[in-house]
Symmetry: C2
Subunit: 152 residues, 2 copies
């Protein structure tokens, strides 16, 4: 019983989606989505930094990055997960639910584990939450590096 997952939209489908919904395809939106495709999950200023590093010519403001990330999240394209503290982390993959949080470096790493995802999903689906219907889940595995040396 494989879990059905939403797919990450490449730039082409991303543009299509915008157009389909009557939104404009702007350089800023393309740049943000491109950044998210590479970064996986990122805060607004990580996205901004990424863009500034790769596209010197393109001007993108902080507020636009926020607006774009928020709009995409509201459209269901990204998830809002969250860092400890007060920073919003956006996740490009709506189907990605398991995050490893490095409590020392204070950043998220990716975990791909379909078996675990399916297992939890199955468990949750057969449970009832009085009066509530589950949309999705987020599993945060809080970890610390197990060795002194820098881990990769």
């Amino acid at each position: 019983m494989a879990r059905r997952r939403k797919k990450i939209l490449d730039i082409g489908r991303f543009s299509e989606l915008l157009r389909d919904r009557g939104y404009r395809v702007t350089k800023q939106r393309l740049a943000v989505h491109t950044a998210m495709l590479t970064l996986g999950h990122a805060t607004a200023d990580e996205v901004l930094e990424y863009i500034e590093d790769r596209q010197k010519g393109l001007k993108v403001s902080v507020s636009s990055v926020y607006n774009i990330l928020s709009k995409m999240a509201d459209m269901g394209l990204y998830n809002r997960i969250q860092g400890i503290g007060s920073r919003i982390v956006f996740d490009v993959n709506p189907g990605r639910h398991i995050h490893l949080y490095d409590s020392r470096a204070q950043l998220f790493k990716e975990i791909e584990d379909d078996e675990l995802t399916s297992l939890i999903d199955a468990q949750l689906k057969r449970r009832t939450f009085r009066g509530y219907r589950m949309d999705r889940f987020d599993l945060h595995i809080i970890c610390h590096p197990s060795r002194k040396k820098k881990v990769q």
Copy 2:
């Protein structure tokens, strides 16, 4: 294989712990912990509001609430979980890992599910995360009310 859980500290043990570690037992700390025992999880201003409602006589400042909650979290007494957006939510129970998030009301509800907790814990324990050791996990089940009428 029941999961061993840290216990919630009642006020007496809370005071003991403070004294044992060389910290002072202040009215503010007692008030904050009392609030947390009732609220389960709360943001700093929810704690403050709770205290102001019940103990008109006692003066507690915002910064003290923050300081106290942070210190307790650093001592491992509370967990920092997080609301969507930029607010830090503290959880009084270090052994409580499953949270139902009502996305409409934007608040957390409690889920007690030892079976599910044990299951996930067991799964995580038998997995390896290259270079990382797991401290704990947080499962957020994002839900919406399934009926129009207000749910309890």
